[in-house]
């Protein structure tokens, strides 16, 4: 039982690594990359929001810090984005700790709103910060194909394998943490903070650790995103919409589950990209309607997410036909 999930993880990874063999169209490769990116981002959100129960709707701040750190280091000082990525993640983690220190005193809705407020403050500051490109953003010049510069033009595949590596590392981290002492403490903090504290769990410290880990990985994803699209501005990386997009795959797939973010991203990202591409996208809002309706449907019909649905089905299959008593409740 202890290693349950690892074989499945390996199988999925093999499939994911082989996927580009069948997908050669750049449009679909882009979808694959975005799906992996949001899997990773949402997995990072899940560390804090899912396991530890601290719903953050300000993840865009860490995403933006990662993106800006590596971009500024690369364009101004020629630092390799691979190093920039690490520094971006570390800086995001530091900011996560600095933000968490006051915010974790708050509970419930006050905390959620505080995360939005902090991220919006960051957005406004970057929007007016001339040294960081202000509203015009920063264009990353192409310096030739290179792993050190993490720039590739002829193929999207290096980006794909890059983000899959990040997502896989994060998955392993989540897998490990969920089974460790930390994972149990985090869930205790989520389930009943007062009881946890009375049993000697120093909840503040565990919340801080969750925030730092979550921010670190989100920052790394931010750096990756900046290198991938080679242009960043506050509106593309620091907005509230970005924060919501980061949390949605987890919510859809199952909050606080190992596979939830991946399942959610696999459903959500291709769907929104395809809807946008085929229903004539910009301005019509059809994609938003479908998106919103789907979230509402999951939240009302199956708040445990798609993973909960799969678990239900498996249970039902295993024990023969059980009456559909718990459905539609």
């Amino acid at each position: 039982m202890r290693l349950q999930g690892l074989p499945l993880g390996a199988a999925v990874l093999a499939l994911v690594l082989a996927a580009p063999l069948g997908v050669r169209d750049p449009f679909f490769q882009n979808i694959l990359i975005l799906t992996a990116l949001y899997t990773a981002l949402s997995q990072a959100w899940n560390l804090l929001g899912g396991y530890c129960g601290q719903v953050s709707l300000g993840q865009a701040l860490f995403f933006g810090i990662g993106a800006y750190t590596s971009t500024i280091l690369f364009t101004r000082y020629g630092v390799s984005p691979l190093l920039g990525m690490m520094l971006g993640g570390l800086l995001a983690a530091l900011v996560g700790l600095a933000v968490g220190w006051p915010c974790f005193r708050l509970r419930g809705h006050y905390f959620v709103i505080a995360t939005i407020v902090v991220a919006e403050t960051g957005y406004l500051l970057f929007l007016n910060w001339d040294w960081a490109g202000a509203a015009t953003g920063i264009l990353i010049p192409f310096k030739g194909e290179s792993i050190v510069d993490f720039q590739f033009q002829t193929s999207k595949l290096p980006f794909y394998y890059g983000i899959v590596t990040i997502a896989a590392v994060l998955w392993l981290f989540s897998y490990w943490i969920a089974r460790s002492k930390w994972g149990f403490y985090w869930r205790a903090v989520r389930g009943n903070p007062d009881a946890a504290e009375s049993l000697g769990v120093r909840i503040f410290r565990y919340k801080m650790a969750a925030a730092a880990a979550s921010a670190f990985f989100t920052g790394i994803c931010g750096s990756f995103y900046a290198q991938y699209v080679s242009y960043i501005d506050p509106d593309s990386v620091l907005t509230f919409n970005q924060s919501v997009l980061i949390s949605l795959p987890s919510v859809l797939g199952g909050i606080g589950t190992l596979w939830g973010p991946a399942v959610g991203a696999v459903v959500l990202i291709p769907m929104s990209e395809l809807v946008r591409a085929y229903l004539g996208g910009t301005g019509q809002g059809t994609d938003l309607i479908i998106y919103g309706a789907l979230i509402m449907a999951v939240a009302t019909l199956k708040p445990e997410g798609l993973c909960g649905l799969i678990a239900d089905l498996r249970k039902r299959g295993g024990r023969g036909a059980r009456p559909a008593a718990d459905e539609g409740a």
Partner: protein, 277 residues
């Protein structure tokens, strides 16, 4: 501006205080009210002020409808009701914004040539534009009405009782479900009134609600969730802070003042100024 914030926030506060639910689609309620005003104004060429009761009534229905279809189901979730309700209202917000884009296109609209617009009065040496002044007046009246409704009527007492103890009220014959539905209706109507007044002088576009929603959350949290007086005071404070910050720093940074005040208040007093939750 502060009084409009206060009225928008009042609707949010009412729903929250009643059933511990934050409506993340509140800004989209406001946006819907503004589009309703705009649409009816164009179709019927009626004055927005004359449309006030109509829009308020429609928004009341919308509130009840949303409660009946989505919220009631989300509240029955076996686990994590709290997250279910956050994300159900979130999905609703995204969907409403999409619908607005589909129907009205993302273009900026505004109600032009209103008899109130482009006039201002000189009050003690300060120039105030008439539409904003009218909006402030109506919002104050709306607030007064809401206060009287809650403090002076049987319905208001039932509402308070339901807030205090959700289980016990069933024993004395109060229909909890009905009270919740009416609470959502009134919350909708209140933000509807704010929407009509805002539509007389503010641009209307699908994303307009988001700007006001965040300010409304902050207003409510500042005053304390569930406290109506807190919402009024919070709204006024925020209106003033915004105006002062806009004078001190670049106007594009004016919201930072509001954010700073929010962080300061909740850190010193994690339940807001008058909150008891």
């Amino acid at each position: 501006m502060g009084l409009i914030y206060a009225l928008i926030a009042a609707g949010l506060s009412l729903i929250f205080g009643l059933m511990d639910i934050v409506n993340f689609a509140h800004g989209e309620f406001l946006m819907t009210a503004m589009y309703l005003t705009f649409g009816l104004h164009v179709l019927l060429t009626l004055d927005p002020l004359a449309l006030l009761p109509v829009v308020a009534a429609l928004m009341f229905l919308l509130g009840v409808l949303v409660y009946r279809t989505a919220i009631r189901r989300a509240m029955q979730a076996k686990t994590s009701v709290w997250m279910a309700q956050i994300f159900v209202t979130f999905g609703l917000a995204i969907m409403m914004r999409g619908l607005a884009q589909l129907i009205f296109t993302p273009e900026y609209r505004s109600i032009r040539h209103h008899w109130l617009s482009e006039r201002s009065v000189n009050l003690l040496g300060v120039y105030l534009s008439l539409p904003q002044l009218a909006a402030a007046g109506v919002c104050l009246l709306g607030f007064l009405g809401l206060y009287l409704l809650i403090a002076r009527t049987d319905f208001g007492r039932a509402l308070e009782a339901t807030r205090e103890d959700k289980e016990a009220v069933a024993l004395v014959g109060i229909n909890r479900d009905l009270i919740f539905a009416l609470g959502w209706g009134i919350g909708g109507a209140v933000v509807g009134i704010a929407g009509v007044m805002l539509a007389t002088f503010y641009y209307i576009y699908p994303g307009v609600g988001a700007n006001f929603a965040l300010v409304a959350f902050i207003t409510v949290a500042l005053g304390g969730f569930g406290s109506l007086g807190g919402a009024l005071l919070g709204g006024v404070i925020i209106g003033l802070v915004e105006a002062v910050t806009a004078m001190l720093v670049e106007p594009s940074l004016k919201s930072i003042g509001i954010y700073a005040v929010y962080m300061l208040v909740v850190l010193l007093r994690p339940r807001g100024l008058f909150g008891y939750l």
